[in-house]
Amino acid sequence: MDEILNVFSVEAREQLEAMEAGLLQLEEGDRDPETINGVFRAAHTIKGGAGVVEIHSVEKFTHVLENVLDRLRNGEIEVNGDMISALLLGCDHIGTLLDMVASGQTEPDDDVRRAGDDIAEQLRPFLGAKAAEAAKNVTVSDADVQRSDREGRINDCWHISIRFGRNVLKNGMDPLAFLRYLLNLGEIAHITTLTDAMPEADAMDPELCYLGFEIAFRSHASKAAIEHVFEFCRDECDLHILPPDSKLEEYLLLIDALPEETMRLGEILVKSGALTREELDAGLRRQSGEAVGAGDTAAAPQLGNILIQQQSVQPELVEAAATKQKAVSEKKAAESSLIRVHADKLDQLIDLVGELVIAGASANLLAKKSGEASLAEATSVLSRLVESIRDSALQLRMVQIGETFNRFHRVARDVSRELSKEIELVINGAETELDKSVVEKIGDPLMHLVRNAMDHGIESPAARAAAGKPTAGRVELNAFHDSGSIVIEVVDDGGGLNKDRIQAKAIEKGIIQEGDTLSDQEVVNLIFEAGFSTVEKVTNLSGRGVGMDVVRKNIAALRGSVDVKTEMGAGSRFTIRLPLTLAIIDGFLTGVGKASYVIPLDMVVECIELADTSVERDYINLRGEVLPFVRLRELFEVPGKQPARENIVVVQYAGQKAGIVVDQLLGEFQTVIKPLGTLFRNMRGIGGSTILGTGEVALILDVQALVSQCAAAEEQQAHSSHGVRRIESHGATA
């Protein structure tokens, strides 16, 4: 049962997100019926699931929301701000209830219950007058068919008309079996066997069935349940079931639909107690009258089967709705091809593919060594396939960042209200994909940056107006791919970071000393230092202890980086760079002495020979540009003699180039990243490890750290000698 609870809680949260997103869309003026229906469906699914797992607090509360949404969906009420606010509060409350469930508390405590009641109270105006309405969906019985009090007459029997198909016996079924089964559901109050269809004895085929029955059936069973009784023969027989207290018109329609003579059937109905004679007579009179006068109601003379009548209307409506929302349909089509897979299964697959990649590399190596051309050929075909499998497998885990971004609409809305600011949230690149494991971990840092931007970045409308800016502040969330990384930007057009204040604060906190000379960028980067916070007033939304240093640390843990550009009065731009996946990369293998090092291929720009190995300086002139470099041999203290010829691998990260000097270039290969584990968590310069075809472990270079190290060294040099062009450090790496 725990598993179901788990599934429910994951699902409910997803639905809650969908609900919230939909509500925000509605608030912004979206009136697409599919949006409303989507929100309704989300509430509906939560309620349904809660019912199944017996979390009645959630079921009951969600039911209230569902009712409001149902009325909205049916056009009985209009969207308005108060309603959306209350519904959003409702979403929050469901979230709270789910949290409680997650912590093992199935019944809310008094405070929570009171909060829920408050919200329900706020929703009451939208629930409509009929209190009964509220109960309608809770226990959906089959009494959905209109019941009418036919002139005070009560008929507590179902009326079943059945004409068995000719082939029912031939197909191995016995009409009596159905009737016997029917008795499981209730009692037969009256039955008339119709043999009207029976031909003369000589024309009769004993293998065919000519029988029909008119049955008055007393039962508490649902219509569906009664229909189920006749399920086996439904395709071939003519079956009509009228619920107790059906309208007279429905009996009339029934009579019309059946093959026998009207009067004969009428008599049967009267005899079985379904109709009174008066009703029958009046009804037949009315029907024929209308036939002449072409009455204004839907009761046309050729009424035919009521079932069919309704069918003829509905599909058209459905179709019309479908064409009207072509865009929606297309989106639906995309959705419908989704399959839900447990993330663990995917992880397992990716692990296996990783092993396959390594095993493949090993086989390839052996094949090449063997000198057998055909074997080498075969393994290289295999390698290509493995590469495709790897890409496809990784693709499975790719998700769009849009869902993560959409959460911030709510944040924007709440901050706007709470701080009386006007904030417009603009999202670009929502369709940009990245690994699910990265998405999961980026949410918190992103939330922090966005809240900061809204809270501290965007000024009050008055301040903005005074500065000649539009009163509405703008926060942008951008995502795009850039050379093997995904870049996420949080941009605001607020006041920007105050460098003087940062510097003063940093001195106060002892992060820097008075008199330290720092470049503007270095000053700005101080915000990422531990224990730094420039805001005097701690607000409700951000600045609660968690600083930018935590943001940076979390991002660094994903092998990513964050940096900031800011301009006083014009705003700030935080740029997060993350690897697309945490599992597998294309690597470029290099050798230094006996050791092998892997450089992520998408960061490699080019390789050049280091012509003069005797140079003492740590930069070269690369086509007129200064290229700082690190010598891996020196940095890593690799034993052995420096060879006569060395190579520089030119790498690029976040727009900065640097060189990594190695002995040998060993070529490209696919590689599975094996984390080095917590033991090495403080290590810099090495990003992970991988297993080569030989079985040997090779280290993967942390290019980002090496590049920033180059840049820092270069900057120091620049300070001392003005002859070299200065390269700015973007420094916020780990």
Binding site: E3, I4, V7, F8, V10, E11, A12, G38, R41, H44, T45, G48, G49, G51, V52, V53, K136, N137, V140, S141, D142, D144, V145, Q146, Y181, S222, A224, A225, E227, H228, V229, E231, F232, R234, D235, L307, I308, Q310, Q311, V313, Q314, P315, V318, K332, A333, E335, S336, S337, L338, I339, R340
Partner: protein, 121 residues
């Protein structure tokens, strides 16, 4: 052993019902949307009963069973809708599309199994 195909976009429902069915000795095929279900049918697998949700994102239950009924192997397969939908018109529409019957959510295990026993051949 009879095989029952279960289609519902709610993972909770999918899991809980399949647990009930499996315990009762049925083989269960699960699909979380109509398209997935349809592709399983198109593969020609043996299915003795289809239980499907009505209101699903993407292809809804009615469109779904209409498609299923066009496949020769499943012309006579019993189909049950699992829904809370209360509109009679929807039900009629569904019946016309080829549904055999209804199960009202949340159904108890007894209701569910009782109905299945009736319809399954």
């Amino acid at each position: 052993m009879s095989t029952i195909m279960l289609v519902d976009d709610s993972a909770t429902i999918l899991l809980s019902i399949s647990n009930i069915l499996t315990k009762a000795g049925y083989a269960v095929e699960k699909a979380s949307n109509a398209a997935e279900g349809l592709s399983k049918f198109k593969s020609g697998m043996k299915v003795d009963l289809l239980i499907t949700d009505l209101n699903m994102p993407g292809m809804n239950g009615i469109e779904f069973i209409k498609e299923v009924r066009t496949l020769p192997n499943y012309k006579f397969m019993p189909i049950l809708f699992l829904t809370t939908e209360s509109q009679q018109s929807k039900r009629l529409e569904a019946k016309a599309a080829g549904a055999s019957g209804w199960l009202v959510k949340p159904a108890t295990a007894d209701e569910l199994l009782g109905t299945i026993k009736l319809v399954i051949r």
